[in-house]
Amino acid sequence: MNKRRLSKITPYILILPFLCMMSFVFAGGLLQAVVQSTGYMPVFGMYDVSLRYYVQLFSNARFMSSLWYTFYIAFVSAALSVSLGVLIAFAVDKSRSGESLSYTLYKVPIIIPHIVVAILVIQIFFQTGIISRILFALNIIQDATDFPLLIYDRGGIGIMLAYLYKQAPFVTLTVFTVLKGLNKKYVQVAQNLGANSFQTVFRVTLPLLAPTILSTFLITFAFAFGAFEIPFLLRSPARLTLPILAYFDYRSPVLAHMPAAMATSVTISVISLSFIVVYMWLLRAMTRRGMEGGGFL
């Protein structure tokens, strides 16, 4: 084989292990879920192939409320994480403490495991938690029951607090990296032309950051949509997010729940995949308008 032909197949050889992993583990797993969601489970003597489990799901009040609840949690926590994260990115940029200790410390939540974050949220925000004790010491509340229920609550506040803690620094890190590399000339031109700092941020910097902000929003949204540990440990017994619902159905001893779990799983995957399509579409629209790309994706 001559060298020229070898160099032509090189990239395919290099990418092969990744493609194997994606087809056998990732696609293989999803395909398995798709097959079983139709009710085809020969191991248990179930051979009927149909879409009835999907029909049942979408007419099931528990599933539908879970679906909207998951969207609500993902949307609110992603919106808060991105807003706070961008704000802190600006603060980091302004404080120019690029080398100092606090510049390292703000990244701490990124490496703390989700399970540990759940413990901390319980200890700090539960009715007998640290915040409640501080309010008691300040005479603002007279009893633990005066403190609102923020964990295991129907509004999912504890879950969202945990996401916020984990995801805001991730947004900051990504946005700040792009912010540092942004062409500062645009800002200088705007200032020379008499723009105040408010106008500079909203008319120049933020539009330049838009693709990055969009991509971090998508990642934090998708993560909050599909995460397991945090809603599993901080959930209200009355309301479950879709991944938890799928998990409980999957582990249920009732055999008929199995295809339902698979159908839920497939629904979660299809929704997540549609995020990517929306993202690609928005990104293309933005590049057409001359915005620079960047960010995690």
Binding site: P11, Q36, L87, I112, A222, I268
Partner: protein
């Protein structure tokens, strides 16, 4: 603006202090701001009374190291292909890389459990390592792509022109240049693996016992203080093994500060 940043740094770090206090607070009744009795009781419970703890710590670390190696062996060539080569379907592969981040782990794991049962991988160390690697891959490929972009391929081309073979080029030209990036990708993959719970639980089937497997029932049972001790152990194990790793790598390759990643 500066004040906001420092407030945020405080919010990020203060919870770790809370975690540390939790592990030693034997008696901490409601309105008290600080624990009334402090002792090492919870540590005693975790390390002495439970003989599974140390095995679980070793399993967690071995698993995380294996995951990091598997991930790097897949991610490095993939990132190389995505940065310095053009090939049919490159854009498609770039989207594929994102999928394990976007598609929820539970959906992939539920489907995989059946395939893994068929392959006899359920309940095995290898099966768990494979599923963890899948979720570490996007991050590792991302880091390594940045690294290859920063390093470029001019030195490799130079070596090839001078007649060096691919294995020699990789060992003597590419590797020394990408070592700091490898370390970053290794660290991230390790951290992702050691924090996994539900994937370990489902694919490990109760036979691969890691620290998180021992930890979670304590949160559910309301024994958050014991869970806090396990958390300290989890974070400590990660920090310790990663700094050892960095130390070893630095003995063989002297490198300056990481300028990318």
């Amino acid at each position: 603006m500066k004040a906001l940043f420092y407030v945020w740094v405080f919010i990020s770090c203060a919870p770790l202090l809370v975690l540390a206090v939790m592990t030693v607070s034997t008696f901490w009744p409601y309105p008290a701001l600080l624990p009334e009795i402090m002792s090492w009781e919870y540590y005693y419970h975790v390390f002495v009374q439970n003989d599974q703890t140390l095995n679980a710590a070793v399993t967690s670390i071995l698993l995380a190291v294996s995951v990091a190696f598997i991930t790097l062996m897949i991610a490095v060539p993939a990132a190389k292909a995505l940065t310095h080569h053009n090939f049919f379907g490159k854009d498609f592969v770039k989207i594929l890389v994102l999928l394990p981040i976007i598609v929820p782990g539970i959906a992939v794991t539920i489907g995989n459990q059946i395939s893994m049962i068929r392959l006899g991988l359920t309940g095995t160390f290898g099966g768990v390592a494979i599923i963890h690697s899948l979720f570490a891959l996007p991050f590792a490929i991302r880091i390594m792509s940045n690294v290859f972009e920063a390093v470029g391929n001019r030195l490799e081309l130079q070596a090839a022109v001078l007649g060096a073979g691919p294995a020699f080029i990789f060992r003597r030209v590419t590797l020394p240049q990408i070592i700091p990036g490898l370390l970053a990708a290794f660290t991230l993959s390790f951290t992702i693996s050691i924090a996994q719970y539900v994937t370990t639980f489902m694919i490990g089937g109760g036979r691969v016992i890691t620290l998180t497997i021992l930890l979670v029932p304590h949160i559910q049972g309301g024994q958050t203080h014991i869970a806090a001790v396990y958390s300290v152990l989890l974070i400590g194990a990660a920090v310790l093994s990663l700094s050892m790793m960095e130390h070893i790598v630095r003995r063989y390759y002297n490198f300056e500060n990481v300028f990318y990643a």
